[in-house]
């Protein structure tokens, strides 16, 4: 079977106009990682069950392994690479570091994107809300305790910064 014709896609990634060519079968995750060199988003399962590939698509967190590259024409995408502003870490990144909320770190990009999305809406999210909202992100190392606490701490930091 010959590879299908490539599609030209124009989009905004981390605030920058970006265009790329991809095959219709390529997922957004593949495009980000293989075509654009944005390897911060990770592949843990490639079928929407681990959240390691979470990115923001038009303001909503999605599993980028379940989105096709060709689907994001005109969309705004934010990845883990876009969370820090210039040389400053975002509070959610700071709190993950200070709270030791990562061990191997493979789940961390997905958690950061998903946590920031939650806290942007609701910086005072309760433990229950956090656990519910982030339950699509698997972490096998930490047992989640320190992740939940880091998200809570980041929310407080974000609320006091505004």
């Amino acid at each position: 079977m010959p590879a299908s014709k490539k599609v030209h896609v124009t989009t905004t990634i981390n605030g920058e106009d970006t265009d790329f060519l991809c095959e219709p079968r390529h997922s957004l995750l593949e495009v980000l990682r293989d075509n654009l060199g944005l390897t911060g988003s990770k592949e843990g399962c490639n079928n929407g069950n681990c959240g390691a590939c979470t990115v923001m698509l038009n303001g909503r967190p999605v599993d980028s392994c379940l989105v096709l590259g060709a689907e994001v024409e005109g969309a705004e995408i934010e990845t883990v690479e876009g969370i820090a502003c210039s040389s400053n870490l975002h509070p959610v990144q700071e709190c993950f570091l200070e709270g030791a909320a990562l061990q191997c770190g493979i789940c961390t990009p997905g958690f950061l994107v998903a946590s920031k999305a939650l806290l942007d809406k609701d910086p005072h999210a309760s433990e229950e809300t956090i656990r519910f909202d982030l339950s699509g992100n698997l972490c096998r190392c930490t047992g989640y305790d320190k992740i939940v606490r880091a998200v809570q701490a980041a929310g407080q930091k974000m609320a006091t910064k505004v």
């Binding site: 990682r33 911060g40 843990g44 339950s135 989640y144």
Partner: protein, 752 residues
């Protein structure tokens, strides 16, 4: 208890690799890209057990974009040689055949061919065109069935080895172990109370979020470079070189950042295949497993069948134990039965015991270590029986454990005697804990406790530290950093030298750069590589003392080095940094180095408390509260020690309540995805409280014990005890998933 005041040890600095890992910059294996790199795809067996009759690759070869195709014919013939891999030994012919099936496939997912192409989709499409003709054979996936005389035989040439004595005909039981201490039969006669049960546990997977991945570049000069997700770059190098039959020195392994391992990333699966594809194609090749491959074709940890019996006197003294254990080995020998046997009674001082263990071949992937390999299964059995006998004798679960806990001088069932250990201290911490002292009395609620043990090993580690002209240090070590170990190692160097953690720049070197270092496993890194860093610091100090003597015009013997790292002599007192700067300016540049091979197990004991609520309608268990207590000897970076305790505990909770390999009637795995193999999510667990006990390990300069493994041992037992206290139902089978628990509760009610 250690009372020494430290400056750096016990503090909680931000880890050195932290910023890279929260910005997406850290490079894991699948993020590695080389010029001209091809993508590899491995074709795997759809059958649990089959003879390979023929493999036809012609159509695949003709596919545009395909650069190389590999089958078993491309793998060198390796003899039955036993290689010592530092942590355990392995028969190389099995290791090789596990990477690429030879005459037979032994489990679904067993590799049969591989393709390298310009893109992974093309490689996969081409691989699907490879025609493999199989003769399907009868298969077996339940351990007791596999032990039957007429069971389908996996290997014609394997006979049971009973410590050097070989059976006279082949079977699926490569190893039988037997231990005896005292006279168990007589002791059971003396016992006032005896409890005995049979237990089963399911096959479970380590579940690291990063699938196995490798990049291989076979150079024209015969040099092979490998970037990979491995727990041990040196063992990866050795396994790869031995399988490919090439000189060890021709292989360079660069350990990339690694997304979890837990024991499952020690054996090689993809490295030899990627290397041979690269050799054929003349270009670098990357292969990454899919999640389904990870479940079906890497190394889960053994399912088991266990019959365990204990006997006690009326005063609660445990006097007799008996265990009969059969563990899955998977498709090749070498499961976790040894440590299973050695851990079944490891927490209790039982004078008379007898243990039999069987390593059993069956049509599942070759099993691997998973945090305290083999210990969680037996703890599930023994820790429930201890509760049960306590109840029989009218004692409390904690009291009977306190009465029988092993301590310095207690003899293990396999013979050796414990040095100073901390189980009693852990039980004491449990007794004092707020959790234990807060009553739990809601309907359908129950509390359970359990103890756990893992040896923790030393093995070999190296460290080298180069002093920069500003007095900071570049630390080179060889332990893959899976959970903050760069920092816990650097902190020990900082402590000895009187520096801050931030003054050390730790690097994990490749196999050409770092000194020989065994795997990141066995709870050994902070202990042993930390010890190497400490010794390298001491080496540096000795060199500096000699050089300072010239500078200060005195004899080296006149110079003392304080606990704070300050050099004093001839009226001067100068800290490490200042002296290093002075020496550098005087033309002296310094490298400190050390190799260590501590041989004493670090003996990690722990105890845990679980509170649960059981839904009587569905059998669903909700974990309400959990406390994990462990003797860390000395916690170097307490946050990461807590993290090990919490992470191990939650893995244990998953093992206890949900996780299992389901097999279809044809013995193929039915649930090879994260959707169907249900690991705990954030919503499934509460906060995990931790209590770190520090009894100090006399074998380490700062008293460190390994902590990584023990926390996974008690959860299934603690939860089973909690479920019993909530429901009066004894669960003897893992996982204690809603359908199983519901059924057990129904039959409990029916029998009342």
């Amino acid at each position: 208890m250690t009372t020494t005041q430290y400056r750096v040890i016990g503090s909680r600095p931000v880890r050195h690799d932290g910023a890279d890992k929260v910005t997406g910059k850290a490079i894991y294996t699948a993020d590695t890209k080389l010029p001209g790199m091809l993508a590899g795809f491995v074709l795997r067996s759809p059958h649990a057990h089959a003879k390979i009759i023929s493999i036809d690759t012609s159509e695949a070869e003709a596919t545009p974009g395909v650069h190389a195709i590999l089958t078993n014919a491309d793998f060198p013939n390796v003899e039955n040689k036993i290689a010592d891999l530092g942590e355990g030994s392995v028969n190389l012919s099995y290791l090789s055949a596990n990477c690429m099936a030879q005459q037979k496939v032994l489990y679904r997912g067993h590799a049969v061919a591989a393709v390298a192409a310009t893109d992974v989709h093309i490689a996969e499409e081409a691989a699907r065109k490879i025609k493999v003709e199989y003769e399907v054979l009868d298969s077996v996936t339940w351990v007791l069935d596999a032990m039957e005389e007429n069971a389908p035989l996996l290997h014609e040439d394997i006979v049971t080895d009973s410590m050097g004595e070989k059976a006279d005909k082949p079977s699926n039981i490569p190893v039988h172990l037997h231990f005896e201490k005292g006279d168990a039969a007589a002791a059971f006669e003396e016992a006032d109370g005896i409890v005995e049960r049979e237990f089963k546990t399911a096959t479970v997977h380590q579940g690291y979020i990063e699938p196995h991945a490798v990049v291989a570049d076979y150079n024209e000069d015969g040099r092979l470079r490998i970037w990979t997700a491995t727990q041990g770059s040196f063992t990866c190098r050795q396994q790869t070189a031995e399988i490919l039959q090439i000189p060890l020195g021709n292989v360079l392994v660069t350990p990339c950042e690694i997304g979890g391992g837990f024991g499952g990333k020690i054996t090689v699966y993809l490295e030899p295949t990627a290397a041979l594809l690269s050799k054929k194609a003349g270009r670098p090749v990357r292969i990454a497993m899919t999640r389904a491959d990870v479940f079906e074709a890497s190394g889960p940890t053994p399912g088991s069948f266990m019959r365990v019996k204990i006997g006690a006197k009326n005063d609660g003294t445990l006097i007799a134990g008996e265990a009969w254990l059969a563990y899955d080995a998977g498709a090749y020998p070498g499961g976790m039965i040894g440590p299973g046997c050695m851990c079944v009674f490891s927490c209790y001082d039982i004078d008379h015991a007898i243990v039999d263990g069987y390593d059993v071949l069956l049509n599942k992937p070759k099993t691997s270590a998973y945090r305290a390999p083999g210990a969680t299964q037996v703890a599930f059995a023994t820790e429930q029986l201890v509760d049960e006998i306590a109840e029989k004798l009218g004692m409390c679960a904690l009291e009977i454990r306190e009465k029988n806990a092993v301590k310095e001088g207690s003899r293990r069932v396999d013979g050796p005697v414990y040095p100073p250990i901390g189980l009693v201290e852990c039980l004491d911490a449990l007794k004092q804990s707020e959790h234990w002292n807060t009553p739990l009395d809601g309907p359908h609620q129950g509390r359970g406790i359990a103890a756990g043990f893992w040896f923790g090993c030393g093995l070999k580690s190296s460290a080298a530290c180069t002093v920069n002209s500003d007095g900071t240090i570049n630390l080179m070590e060889g332990s893959t950093d899976i959970g903050g170990s760069r920092t816990s190692i650097a902190m020990q160097l900082a402590e000895v030298l009187g520096l801050e953690a931030e003054d050390i720049n730790p690097q994990v070197g490749d196999t050409d750069t770092a000194g020989y270092t065994d795997v990141t496993g066995g709870s050994r890194v902070t202990f042993a590589t930390g010890m190497a860093a400490y010794e390298a610091g001491r080496d540096l100090q000795q060199q500096m003392r000699t050089l300072a003597a010239d500078l200060w015009d005195c004899s080296a013997d006149d110079i003392t080095i304080g606990e704070d790292g300050v050099f004093s002599g001839n009226g001067k007192a100068v800290g490490f940094k200042a002296l290093a700067v002075e020496l550098f300016a005087a033309g002296e540049h310094l490298v400190g180095r050390a190799t260590v091979a501590p041989e004493c197990p670090t003996n990690g004991f722990g105890a845990q408390i679980a509170d649960v609520e059981v839904d009587p309608e569905t059998g669903k268990v909700t974990v309400l509260r959990y406390t994990t207590i462990q003797d860390a000897g000395k916690a170097i970076h307490p946050s990461y020690v807590e993290g090990q305790l919490q992470g191990g505990t939650v893995q244990g909770i998953g093992w206890a309540l949900n996780e299992e390999y389901f097999y279809r009637d044809d013995n193929t795995m039915a649930n090879a995805s994260f959707l169907d193999y249900r690991m705990p999510t954030m919503l499934d667990v509460p906060m995990i409280d931790t209590i770190i006990v520090e009894t100090g390990n006399p074998e380490h300069p700062y008293g460190v014990r390994g902590v990584g493994e023990t926390p996974i041992v008690p959860p299934p037992a603690a939860l089973a005890n909690a479920i019993y206290n909530a429901t009066d139902t004894r669960m003897t089978e893992l996982p204690m998933s809603p359908p199983k628990l519901w059924k057990a509760m129904q039959s409990e009610q029916a029998s009342e």
